[in-house]
């Protein structure tokens, strides 16, 4: 079975590719370039095409499939009505699948399930990354607030931190929020950097 993964995010494409590699007798092709997409698809002659919902080439690809329906190997949207749940799950995960007509459902389902899992895994990875980035930004804000207190009140770094922490505890807020308030107030008072 020849599977084409169309995804402008090379990272996500790799994650999906790894997942699908478990399926026996599969040949996987990853297409990350928008330019020349259709001629690549034509060369590959895939049995299944997976594409993420955010890909701007989806309409271009669907048009190609619409035209291909009159050709020797018609490709249909994966919408055998009996599989509507599977499609709903794939749309929720952010992926759509197109399959060569006549490919047996029992071969498609496990593949689609794996793709969906991998899409979810990627989404989790991204939210972890966003969280990590948020933490980093918080750390920077806290450092900035400490410097403001050190300069403004002539205290040491541990004292500045202790002060932020005391205020956070007494007002039932997070240290990062107090630090943010200190930085904002400082900027408003004309002390911006």
């Amino acid at each position: 079975m020849r599977i084409a993964i169309v995804d402008e995010s090379a990272t996500r494409a790799t994650i999906i590719e790894e997942g699908l590699a478990q399926i026996p007798d599969c040949e996987i092709f990853v297409l990350t370039e928008r330019h020349g997409l259709l001629s690549r698809i034509e060369e590959i002659g895939p049995d299944i095409v997976l594409i993420d919902l955010g890909n701007p080439s989806r309409d271009v690809l669907e048009e190609y499939f619409a035209v291909s329906r009159v050709l020797a190997r018609p490709i249909a949207m994966f919408v055998d009505e009996s599989d509507d749940d599977a499609i709903a799950a794939s749309i929720d995960a952010g992926v759509s699948a197109y399959v060569v007509d006549g490919l047996a459902a029992h071969r498609i389902r496990p593949l689609l399930d794996l793709a969906i899992k991998r899409f979810h895994a990627f989404a989790r990875l991204q939210s972890d990354l966003a969280e990590a980035k948020g933490k980093l930004a918080e750390r920077e804000t806290i450092d900035k607030a400490k410097r403001i207190l050190m300069q403004g009140k002539g205290v040491s770094e541990p004292e500045a931190y202790a002060e932020l922490r005391r205020k956070a505890m007494s007002s039932n807020r997070r240290i990062a929020e107090i630090a943010e308030a200190v930085v904002t107030a400082h900027e408003l008072m004309g002390g911006g950097e």
């Binding site: 919902l53 080439s57 309409d59 271009v60 669907e62 048009e63 749309i91 929720d92």
Partner: protein, 402 residues
């Protein structure tokens, strides 16, 4: 308590009414809390509507008909109780091609440009390098408007040229790389090609059909029934947004809102050009005024005329090479829901047409027609080739194209 409603859209200027209904508080006044789902392909806008990620969507009108008739996927009935606008698209050619077939700097005469293009298309075909023209989707008004014009100009769209699908934001790229020689696309993507010097606007689609139906607000038919009060509240909010949108005093503000990254994500100056009907046709030139380039509000522009849905059906039959089917024609007609539009606006003082269908393309000058109370004026709505479409004879109209 406000009722939440999620609306899917593609980054185009004519997604303006729902966005402005939200931004200016018209939706909230009607008890609605709108959220938006921005996507970059019509396939995804449609999938999200069909699988319930969105409650309603900004959709190319022919796609609502095609989805209802099950073209390319199992049939799912859609319902459009509101037309988001008429026209607003243009035909942009590469500077080389424009110089051959038009007089760059002005909007051409569609008959003359069509005749010159036919000559060029034949020459290119004979040389084995057919002209490539881009449209945004097979089931788009862009495709139907372009094909209507080409065919009436003696160009067979499926033989003499090649019509390909290009995503709107990449039209300028595709013209620059020579992938396409021209395109029919919505704003701001014509103007973006002009600004980069890779395209010249030669025609507005309003010159092909003066009052051509463009995007609709689409619901899944069962969702429209289940959420009827919210849908009607949205229609009222959209009419208020339309009245704000067409007031010149608000153009700059609205262009700045629409330009934001979460909406169209484009240069506000280009968006301002489209909404004020003033387009720069050639890089560096002064803008040209073309009244009603976009038509979002006056003359009950948002009224879903059943005859518009039926006209779209005739073009679907024509270009998908289908046989006329009375059942399909009736199903297509039912997609447009003037009953819902009327029910939403009765008692608001808004002008409501007395009829639900009209002979499209029959008015050569402003004409008074019956409204539910008194009368209203409809302006010229002609097709450039002088044909008109009588919805009482759909089959005859289709046959007339041969």
């Amino acid at each position: 308590m406000t009722e939440p409603l999620t609306i899917g859209f593609l980054p185009l200027v004519d997604a303006c009414l729902p966005i402005l209904a939200h931004e200016h508080g018209f939706a909230e006044e009607e008890g609605l809390a709108l959220t938006f789902q921005r996507d970059v392909s019509w396939a995804t806008v449609l999938d999200r509507l069909l699988y319930g990620h969105t409650d309603a969507a900004h959709l190319i009108a022919p796609l609502a008909i095609a989805t209802t008739l099950g073209r390319g996927r199992p049939a799912q009935p859609l319902a459009a109780p509101f037309v988001l606008g008429l026209n607003g698209n243009a035909i942009t050619l590469t500077p080389e091609l424009a110089a051959k077939v038009a007089e760059p700097g002005g909007l051409g005469d569609p008959v003359a440009v069509g005749a010159a293009l036919a000559e060029e298309a034949r020459a290119r075909k004979a040389a084995g390098k057919r002209l490539h023209l881009g449209v945004v989707h097979r089931y788009s008004s862009h495709n139907y408007m372009l094909r209507y014009w080409l065919a009436a100009s003696g160009i067979r769209p499926d033989d003499d040229v090649e019509i390909v699908t290009v995503a709107p934001p990449f039209v300028a790229d595709a013209m620059e790389t020579g992938e396409i020689d021209g395109a029919c696309v919505g704003e701001p993507w014509n103007s973006a090609a002009v600004a980069r010097g890779v395209g010249v606007i030669v025609l507005a689609t309003a010159q092909i059909w003066r009052r051509g139906v463009e995007k609709v607000l689409a619901f899944r038919a069962p969702v429209l029934e289940a959420r009827r009060p919210a849908a009607e509240a949205l229609i009222r909010a959209l009419r208020k947004a339309g009245s704000h949108f067409v007031d010149p005093a608000n153009w700059e503000t609205n262009a700045a809102i629409l330009a934001r990254p979460e909406y169209v994500n484009a240069d506000p100056a280009l968006i301002l050009g489209a909404i004020s009907d003033r387009l720069v046709l050639v890089q560096g030139a002064e803008p040209v005024d073309y009244p009603d380039f976009m038509f979002q509000h006056r003359e009950a522009a948002n009224f879903p005329w059943v005859s518009q849905a039926e006209w779209l059906y005739t073009q679907l039959v024509r270009w998908d090479h289908l046989a006329f089917s009375p059942e399909d024609a009736a199903a297509a007609a039912r997609v447009f829901r003037p009953d819902v539009y009327r029910s939403a606006l009765t008692g608001t003082g808004d002008l409501l047409p007395g009829a639900s269908s009209k002979v499209e393309g029959s008015l050569a000058r402003p004409t008074a027609v019956t409204a539910q109370q008194g009368s209203m004026i409809l302006a010229n709505n002609t097709f450039f080739d002088g044909r008109s479409f009588d919805p009482d004879d759909i089959e005859g109209y289709i046959e007339s194209f041969g």
